[in-house]
Amino acid sequence: MSTTLETTTPPAAPAPERATRLSQPLRLALYALVALAVLSLIRVLTDANDLTSAGTVSAALTLAVPIGLAGLGGLWSERAGVVNIGLEGMMILGTFGAGWIGWQHGPWAGLLTAVLFGLIGGLVHAVATVTFGVDHVVSGVAINILGLGVTQYLAGELLADSPGGGETQSPPISALPRPSVPGLDGVLEPLEKHHWFLISDIAGILRGLLTNVSILTVLAVLLVIASYVILWQTPFGLRLRSVGEDPHAAESLGVKVRLYKYIAVAVSGGLAGLAGGFLAIVASGIYREGQTGGRGYIGLAAMIFGNWRPGGLMMGAGLFGYTDAMQLRNAVAVHALLLVVFALLLVVTALNLYRRKWVTAAVGLVFAVLSLVWYLNSDELPGPITTMTPYVTTLLVLALSAQRLRMPKADGLVYRPEGK
């Protein structure tokens, strides 16, 4: 239910092909509102105001963007049928590019380099998988090793003597602007401070989303929307997706399959590079070895979580960012999340009872009671346990929703043109 926050972010709604129009967005909005109400109730009950505070939302946004961008990279690639486990490597290339150029020529130049470096990684992947027909996972794994090796090697050569930098980190990069919607802060802050039911929550969320947001975060959100429009509303996107669904059918209609795969994987690399650039420039202000910390893999997971769709991906990245922000910021709020889990499990159990799935319902109920008991018997979760929050939540939501995920049909299959 903690996904609520994300459904209130800008529109790129999942928009399934056969949308039962009108009712779908309405229903989603209703769900979001109910979920928010539950969250708000728990906040009021537990006094864990950080559950919906502007700070949490803003931190969640910053933590979600690199994951979302990496996931978006994965989405482009996999929509064209190329599995991209190499996102992590491309992201690492991006962080280095951003750091190396960024400290010398400013953040925008750094960002451009990050995209370029990621793109080069993407092209290597494309050459291997599309031209040479190499297994996608093999190539991706190789790129992850290469990304790490190349950046460490280059950092040793290029950053070792930089002022304030070293073999493992760059000097600081100057920051990008963080605009706000003018006048909003003054209105929302007092509202949030009152800790009223629902109203303060909405104020907090809006304040987190609309004030003091990095320009690059705005760009990232725009990119998600743009990806949706390009992939689902243009002939180019249709061709690109058809290549991932059935390349032979596409080929038989004259679509240049390899070209589209190349474009998709290159864009994928560029987006992963941008994700790296965000980490270096916006999130950290420097390049540091090991900075990505497996976010490429998490991005991939967020994409699968989001059913290979931009809207779903945003929810996945948002959920991850939210829970990560929560565990990093406030142990009390993480403790309150136990109650959220309890509520969630209760709803699912009720649904299962209604559907007469007795066993599943019983399992759900047991876990619901366990989380309630745990909540009541503790004041705070032990430190190490809180760091699990994002991972456990992701697993939990996936396991409970048991959604039918559908990946592009020809995803991961090596494509060989007819007669080769």
Binding site: V124, A128, F132, G133, V134, D135, V137, V138, S139, V141, A142, I143, N144, I145, L146, G147, L148, G149, V150, Q152, Y153, G156, E157, G294, Y297, I298, L300, A301, I304, F305, P382, G383, P384, I385, T387, M388, P390, Y391, V392, T394, L395, L398, A399, L400, A402, Q403, R404, L405, G419, K420
Partner: protein, 381 residues
Amino acid sequence: MKSMNADTVRRVGLSLAAPALAIILSLAITSAVLAAAGNDPFDTFKQMIEYAKEPRTTAMIINGSVTYYFAALAVAFGFRMNLFNIGVDGQYRLAAMLAAAVGGAVSLPPILHVGLILLVAVLVGGLWAAVAGLLKVYRGVSEVISTIMLNSITTALIAFLLTTDKLAVQAEGSNNIGTKPIPASGQVPGIGLVPDSPLKVYGLIVLAVIVGFLYWFVIEHSRFGFDLRAAGRNEEAAVASGVNVKRMILISMAVSGGIAGLVGMPQLLGSSYTYSLDFPAGIGFTGIAIALLGRNTALGVAIGALLFGFLDNSSQILDLEGVPKEIVMITQGVIVLSVVIAYELVRRYRIVAQQREVGRRLSEPPAPAAGNDKTPQGAQA
């Protein structure tokens, strides 16, 4: 007769071509990177080989490979059924930690003690991997996501358990903490496999050989292996043939995790005797690369593990010579890529050659020798 011989020679030549091509390709790229930074490639390779030939380093390379071998086999077992177990990393760490804790807490006669530790490791690894299997079978959660998440959860879990009020002890004056050291009865003595080396080879190399043999035998020769490969290659056909794919997913995930449980054992029982904060992590990811490099076969994986062991250990000398040792990581990545590319190139060459052959044979009766040069031209679009 003559042409038969020539054929055989060519076939053998072609199957050697791929690995040879791969090695040349990766050496070339590595050399280019080295030269670009002003280092002498030949000298660098010579240094590494010289250093690797020292008995102690050879033993170290073998030891490194043994660990890699378990990791790669664990990954490969999953791959054989189209399961991507990214979670080997978490599985072996959790297994090693709990096995070390058990090993340090009990006192038993030597063989039993070692057996118990290994059993705990295999069980923990297997059960932890089975969580991903269960989630996949019953809730449809992709094992790629769940194992990524479980890796991070493992880290938190170990941090939670490895504290001085739970499973860890802190030696006087040390800033490290670890499980209680395993007493001698639970340790596995090394083997003096490399002559003149003061460093012994992990005793558990024997276990690696056994597990490798079992892997090969089970996959290639058992009914279970047949079912596993069938499910990996065509799941629907396997179902129709009576394979219970859900059960196979659970079993193979658990077996993969069980093998993963062994990854930490050579180090634990042969050298460190405790699971401490600096117990090596990340081997599971290297295992993925090696499994792919070795094409998921027991022998291929062994060769891949030795290659990675060689690169990892012999690169230690480079820093001393002023060459950044990260260069070997580039080599590793390039090798993984170039091996598969080389196989593909050789495959294509074979097809073209075959096409030419067919074309030649077929155009012989109708068109006399003169036409031969032209006919094959259009073959490749």
